[in-house]
């Protein structure tokens, strides 16, 4: 019934293939339009799927598995090329292809002066395809296939500017951490296959509640390994170090992959496997804890960063922590709702940052920016809207989704005061640093008088405006999202009403904005004085708690030493030596054997007679 859902996947795949095969021969603009068209088509089909699903009653809104081809069918194990079209996957389709489409249009303008324009769009299409595979896989096998493909696309896009050494290193770092996550996912998949005998979502999720009591060690292990994958992909502690470095890629990449879609794959995974996670409350507790700790951790670092994209990257990490907190508490649809609103305002913020960078001639240090409000009015307004949404200003979409999570952190079954306190604290920090960024970049006078900032072309400002619209208005969709996804999560999430806590949250938000305004709106010495007073703390925060240095010391250096050792001992002296010796020894032996061939008839006659004697022995006696 939903067979046309395959078009969502095939369209960007065809775009990728055609651009990579024929890209050299088609003119630039055509390449750009083709790429945007494929994603636009995917978005259109996703809208049709949405309508198709919405008109069904909630009981029937289960969607279905669309199998194209039976790949493996041996004994009890079966694996098909199949996608699962259900409310959750259609929801993710819409976000991925929708935001993706706007970012494609944006890239037409942003990457215009880049010589590798067509390759960029090929990779972007590849990414959209991979992400769609990930979210629509009908079994764990293709989930991992999509997982790995997305990691590949991320690597290709982060390291897009191949001549920039920092970009190449950052791409490698991101890929290695992704692979760590992949290993965790694979182990989880093996355990699932062993426990359930199948990898298909339907079979696993149907049989899981019957097979295990809560907190069974098997389920806990499976879910913990799945978490390794989720945390690596979504940059939670301790596998988070790749995300700030991933900002070396072009800004549209940061917007699409590292804000709106790829990093949300972890949240999607937990939501998809909610049946398994619900059977392991211990793991849920771990998720919630790690999520909120990451949120706080990232928030503290974001307050002192000076690169415009890094601030937004840490805020992404922080908001992902909120999403994990939500799903960890069992509020799956709230987590997805925050995912949606976050996609809008974070993409908006990144694209706005890209607009700023573009007009400042690739300058990314905010200490050199300022006074852009008059030069770039559209960017200014949309960035303001994005920052308000991020800070959770009342009536923006961010407000509704964040409020729901903060309420749940106190009131839900696993919520407690510690979660709530950290959530509130982080909300305050979020407000503070987002407006610190905003005021530094846009207010006041320009700190570099030489720069001539200009407003960006319509291909870049158009998506900004559309995303700003959604960032403002998507807040009303909260109930609809809950209802739409209810067949997947088996019921509606509880929405807690607590006026007291709501007020505190709003006040904390305002407080953050005010503090930022006091410190940054008007240039003064207050910031410098504060930095002197808090110098040691500032140092630790600026160096991101020295996590990178710790990892380098503990892990990278020993591994490098081991590999150098193995190359010398294992390869050169071991394997190479053995293989060479085979040839050398044959030659040595043949030197001795060739003495036998003397060229003299009598010796050959002797050999013949000896052979004859031997044969006669065999014939006569054996």
């Amino acid at each position: 019934m939903f067979g046309y859902g395959w078009l969502v996947l095939i369209s960007p795949l065809l775009g990728f293939l055609s651009l990579s095969c024929f890209g050299k021969r088609i003119p630039r603009s055509i390449a750009g339009y083709v790429a945007c068209a494929t994603v636009g088509l995917s978005f259109f089909i996703s809208l049709i799927l949405l309508v198709h699903l919405s008109v069904l009653e909630p009981e029937n809104r289960v969607g279905g598995v669309q199998a194209m081809y039976t790949w493996i069918d041996s004994g009890q194990f079966q694996l098909d090329f199949a996608i699962l079209i259900d409310p959750l996957s259609v929801f993710m389709f819409l976000i991925v292809t929708g935001v993706g489409f706007f970012i494609h249009v944006y890239s037409l303008g942003y990457m215009e002066h880049d010589p590798e324009f067509k390759r960029f769009f090929a990779y972007l299409n590849l990414f959209i395809f991979s992400m769609c595979v990930l979210v629509s896989a009908a079994d764990f096998f293709f989930l991992i296939v999509g997982w790995a493909l997305v990691g590949l696309a991320s690597y290709l896009l982060i390291g897009f500017w191949r001549d920039k050494p920092s970009a190449v290193l950052a791409a490698r770092k991101a890929f290695v951490m992704n692979v760590i996550g992949d290993v965790g996912m694979l182990i989880a998949a093996f355990m699932i296959l062993e426990t359930f005998g199948s990898l298909s979502y339907q079979k696993v999720f149907e049989s899981a509640p019957g097979m295990f009591l809560a907190n069974d060690i098997n389920v806990i292990l499976i879910t913990l390994f799945l978490l390794v994958g989720a945390f690596a992909k979504s940059a939670q502690l301790p596998l988070h170090t790749w995300l700030p470095d991933a900002m070396e890629g072009p800004t549209p990449v940061s917007a699409l992959i590292h804000a709106a879609t790829m990093v949300t794959a972890g949240v999607y995974l937990v939501a998809r496997c909610h049946t398994l996670f619900e059977l392991a409350p211990f793991t849920m507790y771990v998720i919630a804890t790690v999520g909120i700790i990451t949120a706080t951790f990232a928030g503290t670092i974001a307050m002192v960063q000076t690169d415009i994209k890094r601030v937004i990257a840490y805020s992404t990490m922080s908001q992902l922590g909120y999403m994990f907190l939500a799903v960890g508490l069992g509020m799956f649809s709230f987590g997805m709702f925050h995912l949606m609103t976050h996609a809008f305002f974070k993409a908006l913020l990144f694209l706005g940052a890209g607009s700023v960078i573009h007009s400042m001639n690739d300058e990314q240090d905010i200490r050199k920016m300022g006074g852009l409000a008059k030069a770039m009015p559209i960017t200014y307004i949309t960035f303001l809207i994005g920052s308000l949404a991020l800070a959770g200003f009342p009536l923006t979409s961010g407000f509704f989704s964040k409020e729901a999570i903060i309420m749940a952190s106190y009131h839900s079954a696993m919520g407690n005061i510690a979660f709530w306190a950290l959530a509130i604290f982080t909300a305050g920090m979020t407000a503070f640093y987002s407006f610190r960024l905003f005021f530094t970049v846009f207010q006041g006078d320009s700190r570099t008088p030489d720069a001539h900032p200009h407003e960006s072309p319509i291909t870049m400002t158009g998506p900004l405006m559309i995303l700003a619209f959604f960032a403002l208005t998507a807040g009303v969709l909260g109930h609809w999202v809950d209802g739409f996804l209810s067949p997947v999560f088996g019921g509606h999430a509880e929405h807690y009403e607590d006026g007291f806590l709501e007020t505190i949250a709003v006040l904390v938000g305002f407080g953050g904005i005010l503090t930022a305004g006091l410190l940054y709106m008007v240039p003064s010495d207050r910031v410098a004085q504060l930095r002197e007073v808090l110098a040691p703390i500032h140092d630790i925060l600026f160096h991101k708690y020295y996590v990178d240095e710790i990892y380098d010391f503990l892990i990278v250096k020993p591994v490098k030493a081991i590999s150098v050792f193995l190359e010398d001992m294992g390869e050169k002296k071991g394997v190479d030596f053995a293989v060479d010796q085979v040839g050398v020894q044959v030659r040595e032996v043949s030197k001795y054997v060739s003495i036998w061939q003397s060229g003299r008839i009598r010796d050959y006659a002797l050999n013949m007679v000896a052979g004859m004697a031997l044969v006669l022995i065999f014939v006569a006696f054996l």
Partner: protein, 189 residues
């Protein structure tokens, strides 16, 4: 003719016959040893002629008169004369005999082979071919005619092939003798 001595009886003819065969066989073996062990080729050739004559006699004792005659005429007569000519042409120097490892190995292998062959005499009776030619019948027809009858009826094809072989050998000899005088062309570098 049976002679009876009371405790020991034997057939004189048979005993004589066997004794003569044994003597001639022994002579043949000794002559063979002489061929191999002599230091001068001329003496070896002469021993070989003697050996062939002994064999011809043995053939006679075993009732193959025609073959005995052919042995003497062809083998001892033509082939050995050829040998003697070549020895005269090439010169037969006495070569020095040294007992080296090679000789030792040769001894041991030959000894082994001989032992095995000797053991094989104890194997058992062979599968007899049913034949019709016993001595009396051969004596009736005459040995040459008997062989002729066999040769030109049952074994015609080998006979013809042997004649082709001799032809080929003759042609080969002429070619070798003719071109042996042509100087070998050397390669230019």
């Amino acid at each position: 003719m049976l002679i009876d001595l009371g405790w020991f009886s034997f057939d004189l003819f048979k005993v004589t016959y066997d004794g003569v065969v044994l003597a001639i066989g022994g002579t043949a073996v000794l002559a063979a040893l002489g061929v191999v062990l002599c230091s001068s080729p001329i003496y070896s050739a002469l021993y070989l002629i003697g050996h062939m004559i002994c064999l011809a006699l043995l053939f006679l004792m075993y009732g193959a008169e025609f073959i005995a005659a052919v042995q003497l005429i062809v083998y001892a007569g033509a082939v050995m004369i050829l040998f003697l000519f070549i020895i005269a042409l090439l010169g037969g120097k006495k070569e020095s005999q040294s007992f080296d490892f090679h000789k030792f190995m040769a001894f041991s292998f030959i000894g082994t082979v001989l032992a095995e062959l000797a053991l094989s005499t104890r194997v058992g009776p062979t599968q007899p071919i049913t034949g019709i030619f016993d001595e009396k019948m051969i004596a009736n027809v005459g040995s040459a005619k008997a062989i002729g009858l066999e040769l030109f009826s049952k074994h015609l094809i080998p006979f013809e092939l042997a004649s082709i072989l001799l032809l080929v050998a003759g042609v080969g000899i002429i070619c070798l003798a003719k071109f042996a005088y042509k100087p070998v062309r050397r390669r230019s570098n």
